[in-house]
């Protein structure tokens, strides 16, 4: 089973996770820019983070045969912080032009404040200007209202709705997402929020059209193997392999290919890899023989 993981924060994960993901079928990852668990107090911290996403992180993934792409954005939480919000919006255009950047994200609402809404709209406009699809984070608190408000802002922006992925959905939001023409993302967590069993039920009830699933793995309690685990559960529940592959490969590939920044045919092969190669002098092998890892 080939898997395109459409939402994982590898910045916060260890190299072993890449190996385990590769062994479980993950061949491509989309890493949206997000909050690092602690507020940043200057734009320079964002710049270094963005540079890591297009540089080191992409290099690290490639060592395990994984295509790494990313989203760039001012995340909703730090949109509320006047120390950084305007400056980050100002530096985004250069990063939105990078080859490996295939969406604007994650953007959206968290606490549903006016300044979050303002930054959300401004970044939808950037997505239009840079011809990129959008990954929208929806609030974990007050989800239904947050979802409706997010959708209203998206519609107001005039962006084509098939270029919008409304993430962190659940049973409550699936119908309104589908009716809107946006894509529906489901983040599968180990203990909280959406889990594997609920996801199986959703697929049995709604099919997989316009849907994708992700682990949203980050620095918190989360599991980068949630997508492969869900694949297995779906298979055991009797869902056709082809349907599962649509959910975890063809759907995300099709959605992000709207960026025009990669050719889906390139994903059929691993990225070029030389395991002795270094990035700024740094090798993930730490001096080991590349043949024996």
């Amino acid at each position: 089973m080939r898997i395109f993981e459409p939402h994982a924060h590898m910045f916060s994960r260890i190299t072993d996770d890449y190996e385990r993901m590769a062994l479980s079928g993950v061949r491509a990852i989309l890493e949206p820019a997000f909050w690092l668990g602690q507020n940043r107090t200057s734009v320079g911290s964002f710049i270094d983070y963005f540079d890591t996403l297009v540089g080191w992180e992409r290099f690290r993934a490639r060592q395990w045969g994984i295509h790494h792409f990313c989203g760039m954005a001012l995340n909703p939480r730090e949109a509320n912080d006047p120390r950084v919000n305007k400056d980050v919006l100002e530096i985004l255009p250069r990063y939105l032009e990078k080859d490996s950047v295939i969406c604007v994200g994650e953007i959206g609402l968290d606490d549903i404040t006016p300044i979050e809404e303002e930054c959300f709209s401004a970044q939808l406009e950037l997505a239009r200007k840079h011809e990129l699809p959008v990954l929208v984070h929806t609030p974990h608190r007050d989800k239904k209202r947050g979802f409706e408000r997010s959708l209203a802002i998206v519609k107001e922006s005039g962006i084509a709705l098939e270029r919008v992925l409304l993430d962190h959905g659940n049973e409550e939001t699936i119908k309104i997402t589908r009716d809107s023409g946006c894509w529906a993302g489901f983040s599968i967590y180990p203990h909280t929020k959406m889990d594997v069993d609920r996801m199986v039920t959703i697929v049995q009830q709604y099919g997989v059209e316009g849907m994708m699933i992700n682990s949203a793995a980050d620095w918190g309690v989360s599991d980068p193997l949630r997508v492969p685990r869900t694949c297995l559960a779906l298979e055991l529940a009797g869902v056709e392999r082809d349907v599962i592959e649509q959910l975890v490969w063809r759907n995300p590939v099709g959605f992000f290919a709207q960026s025009g920044r990669f050719d889906p045919a390139d994903l059929e092969r691993p990225p070029n890899v030389d395991r002795r190669e270094t990035f700024d002098g740094n090798s993930v092998l730490r001096g080991q023989d590349p043949g024996r890892y």
Partner: protein, 295 residues
């Protein structure tokens, strides 16, 4: 004009770029924007160059260009390694009237892999300025071979820049030792041989000794470069090279010895000639022996 080189590298770059970008609306717009807005537009234009214009090679071979700056040094560049996106990067940089050294470094530091390569390579054809010198600092800090090579190989920028502002012979020496460390051939660093000096020879010999102690291979151009500016230990190292098991190593040692003069050591050379089985090396040593006898 340098031997064997065509003239007017910039004209070749412009012509090949024009051929590759005919009917490319994005490129016309990008060039207009750089001309209008200057260096401030580059951070959003550079990332798209490889994607929009491709990475096709422009070709053109070893090409010269009259000196673009007060150094007076003619530019020599191998256009066979240049791609359409590199050519476009050069033309965009040139379209901006003034680029500060901070702006040049910013393009490198916050560029992705391709942008970094383009910025470095494009500088080979530009006037040497503080931005060039700052980029040498970045090249010295990176271990990404492609980026180091783009600024230091396949052209004569380091040789041309030597002596400008703070970029002196010590910096060239450090750069060559780094190239040796990365196993890049001397032949790709045009004009560097002319800057051979005893201190560089000492550094290269020390690196060679350290490599030998670790049982690793030694940079193959060591003998050639130290032979141009011998220092303490050079002669012994070269003589020792004549007993090496590798034919290539013995040949390079013999070639480097041909530049030395040590008539007292003739018996050692003759001893080697008697046992040397490779014709080319024997011929080289015989010629050397003749020269030493005559001196």
């Amino acid at each position: 004009m340098a031997d064997g080189a065509n003239a007017n590298a910039i004209a070749v770059v412009e012509r090949r770029l024009a051929e590759a970008t005919a009917d490319n609306g994005w490129w016309r717009e990008a060039l207009d924007r750089a001309t209008r807005e200057g260096a401030a537009a580059l951070p959003v234009l550079f990332p798209a160059l490889a994607r929009r214009l491709g990475r096709g090679l422009i070709g053109g071979g070893r090409t010269a260009e009259p000196s673009p700056d007060a150094t007076g040094g003619e530019v020599l560049v191998d256009l066979d390694v240049w791609r359409v996106c590199d050519a476009a990067g050069f033309v965009l940089l040139r379209a901006c009237t003034a680029i500060t050294s901070e702006q040049a470094v910013d393009l490198f530091l916050h560029g992705d892999f391709e942008e970094r390569t383009i910025v470095m390579r494009a500088h080979a054809l530009r006037p040497v300025d503080p931005g060039t010198i700052a980029l040498f600092g970045e090249a010295q800090r990176t271990n990404t071979s492609t980026h180091f090579e783009a600024l230091c190989c396949d052209h004569n920028l380091p040789a041309r820049a030597c002596g400008v502002a703070d970029f002196g012979i010590d910096d060239v020496n450090r750069m060559v030792v780094k190239a040796a460390f990365m196993d890049l051939p001397l032949a790709r660093m045009f004009g560097v041989e002319e800057h051979a000096n005893a201190e560089l020879s000492r550094m290269l010999q020390d690196l060679a000794t350290e490599r030998e102690a670790a049982g690793r291979t030694v940079w193959q151009d060591t003998d050639r470069l130290v032979g141009l500016a011998p220092t303490r230990g050079t002669l012994l190292r070269l003589l020792g090279g004549l007993e090496h098991g590798s034919d290539g190593r013995r040949l390079r040692a013999a070639e480097a010895l041909a530049r030395q003069s040590a008539p007292d050591l003739l018996p050692l050379i003759e001893d080697r000639i008697a046992r040397e089985r490779v014709d080319a090396i024997r011929a080289q040593l015989t010629q050397l022996a003749g020269k030493w006898k005559g001196s």
